[in-house]
């Protein structure tokens, strides 16, 4: 088994309530003035966590009960808006290893998969049960079983959905496609040559 294979991610959870949480909220553009992703973790959800004078607004990820949480739980259309990979990079560097939401915006979902972060799509009922569970028992261990498409939380188990190609990419360890793309350079050349516009002046 390759060390890149991602079958299961496990940790405690935190519930960030709301639908349509966009990538500007996950990482405000101000913090994208950088040439590396290093250090972005501390700025995750910055505008939601701090007032202009720097005082904390008691965002759930700063709540001591959820310290060290690595499973992020949220609502519909999570990660909508800008294509910035800075968003999943900030979440990953903040310590999140899996995201559970009612639905995901497409570019965000793809960016997460490419970074090896499983995004589990659950029903409204599952989301609200998980949210209640995490609130009631913050120490509950939550795992995303990518092979079985099951979320296990304490004694409970829930189904989730994930695009087949993303599931395959994660469990096979090929979530970063670069090597495979590079290995097919000959075929790329042939495909390019077959496109009329490649030869136009």
């Amino acid at each position: 088994m390759s060390e890149l294979e991602i079958h299961n991610v496990t940790g405690t959870g935190v519930y960030v309530a709301g639908d349509d949480i966009d990538t500007d909220r996950i990482i405000p553009a101000h913090f994208m003035k950088c040439v590396t992703f290093d250090g972005l973790g501390q700025y995750a959800f910055y505008g939601e966590r701090y007032n202009e004078d720097g005082y904390t607004k008691n965002h759930p990820i700063d709540d001591p009960r959820f310290a060290g949480a690595s499973m992020l739980i949220s609502g519909r259309n999570f990660g909508c808006g800008s294509s910035r990979e800075h968003a999943p990079q900030a979440l990953y560097r903040h310590g999140f290893r899996g995201i559970i939401a009612q639905s995901f915006a497409e570019i965000f979902f793809g960016n997460c998969t490419t970074l090896g972060i499983p995004c589990a799509t659950v029903t409204a009922e599952t989301m609200s049960e998980l949210a209640q569970l995490v609130e009631a028992e913050p120490a509950t261990s939550i795992s995303i079983d990518v092979d079985a498409l099951k979320i296990r939380a304490g004694e409970r188990a829930f189904d989730f959905e994930m695009a087949k190609s993303a599931q395959q990419a994660l469990v096979s360890g090929r979530w970063d496609p670069l090597q495979e793309l590079l290995s097919r350079a000959d075929r790329v050349g042939a495909a390019a040559a077959s496109l009329p516009y490649v030869g136009w002046n």
């Binding site: 990979e85 496109l195 136009w200």
Partner: protein, 473 residues
């Protein structure tokens, strides 16, 4: 049933199927900018990988450039570092770079079409979600993350799964004072901000066919705000006429063959779709957003939603929006006082947008206490506006005239809202904090509606402010 444009372009660019079932797709045009590319180049350096097709990538700088001065080094050292990184990266890899003083510089989604780089039948990507703009030409164009920017630089391909296609048909004549921006805000209001997830939107119908290329770009630009990563319009004679003679468009010897191929890539009359939605142009009013996502819009004659009869699933976002925007549920949207008026962004900063605004603000004055700025999408747009005398009109009316860039659309540069300022904006996103202040408030609308708000000092019906007669179609 024949193929639609999405399927034809997808098939023409398919290199093969990858082990996880995804398609390896060739990318015809790759656009890069300073924000989402430096990490991609760093990853390549780390792995000692060269840029595979440097002549298929073009770079410019737009997000971080100040719009009041081009003085280098930029006053913000972080912005300066990003500039230096892009210059070094493009030089080392042989990628063309239009820097902040280059006559071709501008917002990446303005200059691609302007230079004729954007063409029908192509796959186009950029580390920027508004890449859907280029779909106006009948290209499959979409935003990507930085790891994918790396993949394109390294291989000129991406690992992707195909999208379903929804035909969004808009038919009929738009009323006077109703613009392309209103069409797309209306579509997002109807289909929702996540209604397009998993879909490419094919915009069609007589309303769309009657639009100029710049209007079509405005529509496709905001596809992503409806959740659709791709939005496109089938290429036609309007498309070809726009491209003819542009710097990177096919030259005379290839022109006829190009037009034939472009035409052949359009969806056939019996093309198959996964879904079809039909919208009546007569239902579209000048539209303004009241909330914190682009789907939270109302017609200018309507009230701010009071939550009555709203589905339970939307109440949370409604409540959050009302609180953030500090608006009164049930009150008319008209008359909401504005602090800042911004005309610009990849949605609405092209010459036709500026002409529309100039026509109406001529001889009027921006309301006392309102900060109003107009930021052209590119140096070419700026030059054209100067030549046509639009700039004098703007300045005489009290608008600040700036240099090209993304400016206040996303506040990665000095143009930002302060505190809880409310901005009437021709940009594309009204997310909390988007314009640079966590408490800042954004209301999206067409450039002419922004101009009306600037003159009136509050959200207003441009048809009334400027005497645009609704029967004078």
């Amino acid at each position: 049933m024949s193929k639609n444009l999405f399927q034809k372009v997808w098939d023409a660019h398919t290199v093969g199927t990858l082990d996880d079932g995804r398609t390896q797709l060739f990318i015809g045009l790759h656009l890069i900018h300073e924000v989402t590319s430096p990490q991609a180049f760093a990853m390549l350096r780390e792995k000692r990988i060269q840029v595979a097709y440097p002549d298929r990538t073009f770079a410019t700088v737009d997000h971080i450039v100040p719009t009041d001065t081009r003085q280098r080094p930029f006053s913000d050292p972080l912005a300066e570092a990003m500039m230096v990184a892009l210059k070094d990266n493009t030089e080392a890899s042989g990628v063309a770079f239009f820097d902040e003083k280059d006559a071709n510089q501008g917002i990446v989604h303005v200059i691609g079409p302007e230079l004729g780089l954007t063409q029908p039948g192509m796959t186009i990507c950029c580390g920027d979600s508004h890449t859907s703009t280029h779909g106006a030409f009948g290209a499959i164009a979409f935003g990507i993350g930085t790891s994918q920017v790396r993949d394109v630089l390294a291989t000129q391909t991406l690992a992707l799964s195909p999208l379903k296609v929804r035909r969004v048909e808009v038919n009929g004549e738009l009323g006077s004072g109703v613009y392309a921006k209103d069409v797309i805000l209306h579509i997002i209001r109807v289909l929702g901000v996540n209604g397009g997830v998993g879909f490419a939107y094919e915009f069609a119908g007589t309303t769309i066919e009657a639009m100029s290329m710049e209007e079509r770009m405005t529509v496709c630009n905001m596809s992503i705000e409806g959740g659709a990563r791709v939005g496109y319009i089938n290429p036609d004679d309007v498309t070809f006429e726009y491209l003819r003679g542009r710097e990177h468009a096919p030259k005379a010897g290839d022109w006829d063959a190009a037009c034939d191929w472009w035409r052949s890539m359009a969806s056939g009359p019996d093309a198959d779709y996964d879904d079809v939605v039909v919208i009546d142009a007569a239902d579209i009013a000048p539209t303004v957003t009241w909330g914190i996502n682009p789907g939270q819009g109302v017609g200018i004659d309507e009230a701010i939603p009071d939550g009555n009869g709203m589905p339970e699933s939307e109440r949370g976002t409604w409540q959050e929006a009302i609180e953030h925007m500090n608006l009164t549920p049930g009150a008319p949207i008209q008359g909401t006082p504005v602090d800042v008026c911004f005309i610009g962004s990849c949605t609405n900063s092209r010459i036709s947008d500026l002409r529309d605004v100039a026509e109406h603000v001529k001889g009027r004055r921006v309301s006392e206490g309102v900060k109003a700025l107009i930021v052209p999408g590119s140096w070419k747009v700026a030059k054209q506006a100067e030549e046509e005398g639009l700039v004098e009109v703007f300045e005489a009316a009290g608008f600040e005239w700036r240099q090209p860039g993304c400016s206040m659309c996303l506040a990665m540069n000095p143009d930002k809202l302060v505190g809880d300022q409310l901005c009437a904006s021709s940009s594309n996103r009204n997310f909390k904090g988007r314009q640079g202040s966590a408490r800042g408030r954004t209301m999206l609308m067409s450039p002419v509606m922004v101009a009306a708000a600037a003159i009136r000092g509050s959200v207003a019906d441009a048809r009334e402010v400027f005497g645009i007669r609704s029967d004078a179609v």
